[in-house]
Assembly symmetry: C2
Homo-oligomer: 207 residues x 2
DNA sequence: TAAATAAATGACACCCTTGTCATATAGTCT
DNA sequence: AGACTATATGACAAGGGTGTCATTTATTTA
């Protein structure tokens, strides 16, 4: 919750500060991010910063909030696809698209990864408050389980958790590694293994 | 490579410094670890530290080296098991044991996890130099593939990579979370899914 | 226009960390 | 003991970061 003063600022200045913050939070973890760097980059004096934000936490939450607004649209785009497709099919289609999108928002995704690298109590709380957007997956998975497309002996919650684990690790590599093509291949392969492990067993062994 | 002076130190003092370093590197990432804290904890004066080590990197590598020595014995214990068991069976048996061992070496494992949280160039180099111990798994997996117990359409390298990904994520949770029993259950379940996805398809659908 | 309210600004005090270095102390060798 | 080498030690300078506050500059309101 930035100050009223901040909200009253001309859009250009607000944007300049937002950009500087995004850049800094993408550069390094929250705990290591420096207000000094941000105000230097945004070209605002030290005193002004504290007139706009209570501190680093305040700015960070503002940045996340702004990014969430943009992200929401993208999520909606994926979920409102053909409802006849199974969860696994949707995922198979969505994964490349998600990574393409991630490519175009390098800074935002870096911030997301940095969140996972930081284990301060502030970040734990922040992360736990953010993980709402995944809820959408549950229903689709449960439906597939009802239709006998996905193993019923595993809770949908666990499936989401495992998929998230692997996704996160892959996303991390995607940004760390030079050769992103290699990671794309990994993604296809590893999800194939996971899906194979998740698929309900067929009566007759189809080959 | 600590100084000769350090090596000539009485064992008790060396141990005191090592312990203090382990504690600090378990407390936080390398980049955030403070020499000040270490010398305070080890109760040695500032000047002495720089008489023993070139700097933080030097101390860190020394600590890793000492830990590696201890770790090696444990790895050997696991790998010299019954050679008749398949890789998946060995893993299923080893996983609980590994986590029990991890429990007893909380500090060392925290250090390991902190390594993954740190993406300085120093840490990247250090990590890449350390990942030798996994090589043992390849052979076992390849053998299982030859025997038709594991899918042949996936390279052993990839399998190790995927298993490591999930293991790392689980290990992280294991130490972050209060309720470690929950994570143990996750471990069983997720590896079950992975193994299911890795298992070579049988001709007739058993059950 | 004068008074009052809002915003901008940067010097300052304070905290933490790192690496160095001159000096003091201990140990060894002739 | 005298000389010479090996250790120990903590004060210090330098660098970076944070939050505050008295003061200046705009803006608005009466």
């Amino acid at each position: 919750m930035p100050t009223d003063t901040f909200h009253r600022l001309p859009a250009e200045k607000k944007q300049r500060i937002f950009q500087a913050a995004v850049q800094e939070f993408a550069r390094c973890r929250f705990s290591e991010a420096s207000i000094n760097q941000i105000i230097k980059q945004a070209a605002i004096p030290r005193g002004s910063f504290y007139q706009y934000f209570a501190g680093k936490e305040d700015l960070y939450l503002y940045v996340l909030q702004e990014i969430s607004k943009e992200k929401l649209d993208v999520y909606n785009g994926f979920t409102s696809a053909d409802p006849e497709l199974s969860f696994l099919e949707v995922m198979e289609q969505a994964i490349p698209a998600i990574f393409v999108w991630a490519d175009e928002h390098d800074d935002y995704n870096k911030i997301g990864l940095r969140m996972l690298q930081d284990d301060s109590s502030f970040m734990r709380e922040t992360i736990s408050k953010m993980s709402d957007s995944i809820g959408i997956m549950y229903d689709v998975i449960k439906e597939d389980q009802a239709k006998g497309r996905i193993r019923r002996d595993i809770e949908a919650e666990s499936i989401v958790d495992l998929l998230q684990m692997v996704s996160t690790a892959l996303l991390r590599e995607y940004f760390d590694l030079k050769d992103q093509k290699v990671v794309m291949d990994k993604i296809k392969l590893y999800f194939d293994i996971l899906f194979q492990g998740l698929r309900a067993k067929q009566e007759a062994g189809g080959h």
